[in-house]
């Protein structure tokens, strides 16, 4: 079958029109992809800002927690020691020579204890410096403080844990640890606390367990109030991690925070 020249002309015209339409769609595609890229970049900036804000908030909370401990210690411990010194000094009777020496010795002992307490408080006040020494060191120091109350039997295990490169992540995890300990002190009525810090090639895991009264996890998660369990999960997610909370009423609780090391 012979194709007429008109048909070929028509074919060329049609092909050219199609060849002109194709770039139109291509340009539209590139433009719409570019718009999506813009949206994605805006979201990235928003996430970064949110993370920075959260980190700042966390740092402030760590400081706040330190100040609370300082205030409590000043009131309950150093305050009591100083009161005792005052009382001891006021009871010294210069005419009772036999008792003067023992009272001065007692005052000397109380003063030394006060100085030691103040030194420990001074170390605690450098909270940020504490985190800069590493997560494990910060946890250890915090636990040392808790051990002084002699209310809990505390065990801390470090399995292959070395360090985390990202200091922001360390601050976040340390704050999560502080909050878990706070929850145990305030609500758990526990006598034993076990902390395990472990690390493998891709992630590190902090597990905090107690033998307290336990709680209903779903119920508490639904409350979504304050720095509760919901916030622990949310903050763990912000550093690409997960927080697994397991508890049975009457049988204590376990909180496991797993965070990737290199992301």
């Amino acid at each position: 079958m012979q194709i007429s020249s008109e048909e070929i002309i028509f074919l060329i015209g049609l092909t050219s029109i199609i060849f002109l339409i194709a770039p139109c769609f291509l340009i539209l595609y590139v433009l719409s992809y570019n718009r999506r890229k813009k949206k994605h970049l805006e979201e990235k900036v928003w996430l970064k800002t949110t993370f920075e804000n959260e980190l700042l908030k966390t740092q402030m909370e760590v400081q706040e927690q330190t100040l609370k401990t300082v205030a409590n210690d000043l009131h309950d411990n150093i305050g009591q020691l100083l009161s005792l010194i005052t009382i001891t000094l006021s009871t010294i009777d210069l005419e009772e020579n036999s008792k003067i020496a023992s009272k001065i010795t007692l005052t000397d002992d109380l003063t030394r204890r006060s100085i030691n307490e103040l030194k420990a408080l001074s170390r605690l006040l450098h909270g940020e410096e504490l985190i800069s020494k590493g997560l494990a060191a910060a946890i250890e120091f915090e636990l040392e403080w808790l051990k002084r109350s002699e209310r809990y039997e505390i065990s801390f295990e470090r399995n292959n844990f070395k360090s985390v490169v990202d200091s922001g992540k360390e601050t976040m995890v340390f704050r999560l640890f502080q909050e878990c300990i706070n929850n145990i002190i305030q609500h758990a009525k526990a006598s034993k606390i076990v902390i395990i810090l472990e690390q493998d090639n891709s992630s590190f895991k902090l597990t905090i367990s107690d033998d307290g009264i336990g709680f209903n996890v779903d119920e508490k998660l639904n409350l979504k109030m304050g720095m509760g369990l919901y916030n622990i999960k949310r903050r763990a997610a912000m550093i690409n991690g997960t927080a697994t909370i397991t508890s049975i009423p009457g049988n204590g609780s376990v909180i496991a925070i797993t965070v990737p090391s290199n992301q």
Partner: protein, 218 residues
């Protein structure tokens, strides 16, 4: 009046836009476009003059104009890829292949016919270069407002022109035998008028964007 056609008007308008908006541009690749557009206007007018007044074929003139067209467009693409660290050796290889192909075809045609195969290959290469530019832009994490981004519109105009002319290039030999079949102007002429208007409109808009970008930075 014979000099006033869709092609000459759109080329002249684009040249004037280039002259106004690119005259003080710091990038030599963009400034080179002013000279290229001036050359295109001269070739177009000369082509009409040779065909209508001297009554001889203007094919040698258009054959000659293919060289600057290829060199300028290739160099401009190379300058656009600069952000993505292109290798100069690819530009040299491509231009060498082009020159070999061009002169071979010219000799085989005894300098009488248009170098249609070379022009077709050149079109395909420029279409691929445009698509590669889009690919780089899509891959690039850095965001640009493409609606006001001069290189994007320059590439888009180029893509329209060379992609749209593919059919004409493929059927060039056939079309040249039947310059005007049933219409006042040949289909090739009509298609190239449309393509020229699209190309130079896009380029003019790109020059405006370039000017606005330069003004906003200074």
């Amino acid at each position: 009046m014979i000099f006033i056609t869709f092609n000459t008007v759109s080329e002249l308008a684009c040249f004037l836009a280039g002259l106004i908006f690119l005259f003080k541009d710091k990038d030599p690749a963009w400034r080179l476009l002013i000279w290229y557009l001036l050359f295109t206007c001269i070739v177009e007018v000369a082509g009409i003059y040779i065909r209508t007044s001297l009554h001889v074929s203007n094919i040698p003139l258009y054959n000659l104009s293919v060289i600057p067209e290829c060199f300028v467009t290739s160099y401009f693409f190379y300058s656009l890829y600069k952000t993505y660290h292109p290798k100069i050796k690819w530009l040299i290889i491509w231009l060498s292949i082009f020159l070999i192909m061009y002169f071979t075809e010219l000799i085989l045609n005894h300098f009488n016919n248009f170098v249609s195969i070379t022009a077709s290959v050149m079109s395909v290469v420029f279409v691929l270069a445009s698509l590669y530019y889009y690919y780089l832009k899509l891959k690039d994490e850095h965001f640009e407002r493409l609606l006001f981004y001069a290189p994007f519109w320059w590439v888009s105009g180029t893509l329209f022109f060379y992609f749209g002319s593919t059919a004409c290039n493929l059927f060039f030999d056939y079309l040249i035998k039947y310059p005007s079949i049933s219409y006042e102007f040949s289909i090739r002429y009509i298609i190239f008028c449309i393509l020229d208007v699209i190309l130079y409109s896009f380029w003019s808009y790109a020059f405006i964007c370039r000017y606005l970008q330069r003004k906003s930075y200074s």
